[in-house]
């Protein structure tokens, strides 16, 4: 019975609306007061039923909810034969709840779209060797699955046979299909655009990359800031307090109407819902636009950032350095290049890769006694000769004398923004290479947008030489540039800036920068979506898309502002209602309920604006 009534809430709302219209029609058009009263009585009783049931359920678990306030108020109005008020208040309360549900679903839609991309079924190889469709929850690690053209990849896995093109937009944001063959990795939630593949399940369910992203976003939309937790605690005592207040007023004034009006006016309505609504809409907008924000605390801090610190390689630059210039000193160039290639082969440093690519095919020697000098380079023994590969500091340490010409070359290379790789054989400089990394396209414009959004300091920290870093800083219009920074120097720098009262965001690729990411007020990872960095940072720019950064900052500013607006609307409405009850004649239960429901809708609609937020192109 209870369930039936609650399930028919919408129909009840409609019927009471019709009854109220009928009542006023018969009063003013037919001048029939009997129909007027009876319509309103039926509307009141009918409308109160679902509210009273909810109130009873709440009291049973010891919660004084809004339903309780409304039930007492309406019952009171009914007993003193104010049927007009009791009918209208119940109707408004029910209709308001209906509208809230509709609009809330809208604000949640962005995140819902994301979760609905989750795969639901899979074709699993059974014991008899046949593939059968099963629920994705029934897939275990190690199972063999078949994915056909047009289907979603159900789990993270490895291709065992077949080939095809996969659209990985749900993970990376990149919608150009990626070719997959045997041994390629495939990800849950991506779509096989053509071809047929068999895969082995490596990670299933919530452990997949897609599952982790969804869980993260779901947690984020419901994570609470300090202010929200305060409101929660507040509202726990607020509603019972309103009840007590109404009772005291009745005791003193013996005026039932006044007492029950206070119950209705005091409903906390918009206050509790205002902030979560802004939060979900803001995070939803981000998720749709390739920015993962981890909760309302992050939004608040992010919106206040005045200093953004960037890692250079892979963040401001493409992260794919190439040899741009080189000079040889002395003879036997081929032999020296072979030594160099042999040593660099041992290293996974990005510059080493650039060197190898430049040298190409060559004879390789056995490398012995390799010694990595931190912040310097590599020293090794090749073919009985001592090879030193690294920067100028390493050459000084190795007592390699630089000729006048070499010095000029070094200077010239540095001014052009090259990172330097010097090679010395037995203490004699043989090769100087200048390696350059391309600046990401569009970064300059994005940085200008950040400045316009109120960021005062844009700083680049890099392990590269000062010349290179200065050049990048000049080209991009950064405020400060520091070279020769080891990871621990970077985090020390952030600590120093924080001590000066700056609120800092650090943007890095999340591999070697994890201390800085963790230390900064906001750690922003440039993630391809498959990185573990997703978990350690506060915000992630999907698909390493730098241009999402201004959007992210603008969005958090708008969202933080939106939350404040909603709090002001909610508190303002309660104050105005109570004040007008004391100072004016026209305030009554029906108007109070109308204003309350309207204010709830206003905060939801206000929050919904965030879904459409886009950074305006204010570039001249």
């Amino acid at each position: 019975m209870q369930k039936f009534i609650l399930g028919k809430k919408n129909q009840i709302t409609l019927i009471s609306a019709i009854l109220i219209v009928l009542a006023f029609f018969s009063r003013f058009a037919l001048e029939n007061m009997d129909i007027f009263h009876w319509s309103l009585i039926i509307a009141s009783v009918l409308g109160l039923a679902p509210i009273a049931i909810q109130a009873y359920q709440a009291l049973k678990v010891k919660v004084v909810s809004i339903d309780v306030l409304v039930t007492i108020a309406v019952t009171g109005a009914f007993l003193i034969q104010k049927f007009e008020e009791s009918a209208i208040v119940t109707f408004l309360f029910l209709f308001g709840a209906y509208l809230e549900q509709r609009t809330l679903n809208k604000t949640r839609s962005a995140i819902k779209e994301l979760t609905e991309m989750a795969p639901e079924s899979a074709l699993k190889k059974m014991e008899n060797g046949e593939f059968e469709e099963v629920d994705v929850d029934d897939v275990d690690e190690g199972d063999i699955l078949l994915v056909k053209t047009g289907a979603k990849v159900p789990v993270d896995g490895t291709v065992l046979s077949g080939e095809g093109y996969i659209n990985e937009a749900s993970i990376t944001g990149e919608s150009v299909p990626v070719g997959k063959t045997v041994d390629s990795q495939v990800y849950a939630g991506t779509i096989l655009e053509n071809g047929t593949i068999q895969i082995r399940a490596d990670r299933v369910g919530e452990d997949t990359t897609f599952g982790r992203i969804i869980e993260l976003v779901e947690e984020a939309q419901d994570s609470k800031s300090e202010a929200e937790r305060f409101i929660d605690r507040f509202s726990k005592y607020y509603t019972p307090a309103v009840l007590v207040l109404g009772f005291i007023v009745w005791l003193i004034s013996r005026n039932v109407e006044l007492a029950i009006t206070i119950l209705v006016l005091g409903c906390p309505g918009a206050l509790v819902i205002g902030v979560p609504v802004s939060n979900v809409a803001g995070i939803g907008n981000g998720a749709r636009n390739g920015v993962l924000l981890k909760g309302s605390e992050v939004i608040n801090d992010f919106s206040k950032v005045d200093t953004i610190v960037f890692d250079k390689t892979g963040t401001l630059t493409v992260g794919n350095p190439e040899v741009a210039e080189k000079e040889f000193y002395g003879e036997n160039i081929d032999e020296v290049q072979a030594y160099l290639a042999s040593v660099e082969k041992e290293s996974d440093h990005p510059l080493a890769k650039a060197v190898l690519k430049d040298i190409g095919e060559t004879n390789l020697f056995t490398v012995e006694k390799t010694e990595v000098v931190k912040g310097g380079g590599i020293i090794a023994q090749v073919n009985g000769r001592r090879i030193a590969v690294g920067n100028v500091a390493l050459m000084e340490k190795e007592n390699v004398a630089l000729s006048e010409k070499a010095r000029r070359d070094v200077e010239r290379f540095e001014q052009k923004g090259n990172s330097l790789v010097l090679t010395a054989v037995d203490g004699e400089l043989k090769v100087l290479m200048g390696i350059r990394d391309k600046i990401r396209p569009g970064v300059k414009k994005d940085l200008q947008k950040l400045k316009r959004l109120g960021v005062k300091n844009l700083v680049v920290l890099s392990g590269d030489n000062q010349g290179t870093v200065d050049l990048v800083a000049r080209e991009l219009g950064l405020t400060k540039a520091y070279g020769h920074m080891l990871p621990e120097d970077k985090s020390a720098f952030i600590k120093k800036m924080q001590a000066k009262g700056h609120i800092i965001a650090f943007v890095g690729d999340g591999v070697n920068d994890s201390p800085s990411l963790a230390l900064a007020d906001i750690g922003i990872a440039m993630g391809s979506g498959t990185d573990v960095a997703i978990e350690t940072s506060d915000a992630v720019l999907m698909n390493s898309d730098f241009s999402r950064l201004p959007h992210a900052l603008g969005l958090t500013k708008s969202t933080a502002r939106n939350m404040k607006q909603n709090i002001i609307i909610a508190v303002g409405v309660v104050i105005i209602l109570l004040a007008s009850l004391i100072f004016s004649e026209w305030m009554n239960m029906s108007i109070g309920m109308l204003v309350h429901e309207a204010s709830i809708l206003v905060v939801i609609l206000n929050g919904m604006r965030l879904l459409r937020y886009r950074l305006r192109g204010r570039l001249a």
Binding site: Q57, A58, V61, V63, I66, I111, E219, K236, P276
Partner: protein, 77 residues
């Protein structure tokens, strides 16, 4: 100890959260500090002692309040 994730119909009023939280808390075998009601995701996450309680009983407690349970998953915690 098991971990249940219960998906509910979309929650609309925040006082629903309070109600659900209290109702679930009153059950015997619930890890009190593990209850998490996700308002926007409309989910309940809770750890419970599987000797004393089944997920069906948790679902029933929520449904008696008038909120429909859409699905639930149980994993060892």
């Amino acid at each position: 100890m098991q971990k249940a994730v219960i998906q509910l119909e979309p929650l609309v009023c925040p006082s629903c959260m309070q109600k659900i939280e209290h109702a679930v808390k009153l059950l015997n075998g619930i890890r009190q500090d593990s209850i998490k009601i996700l308002f926007n995701a409309s989910k309940v996450r809770v750890n419970f002692d599987s000797d004393k309680l089944t997920v069906g009983e948790i679902e029933k407690a929520i449904e008696t309040l008038g909120y429909e349970v859409i699905s639930s998953k149980v994993k060892p915690a």
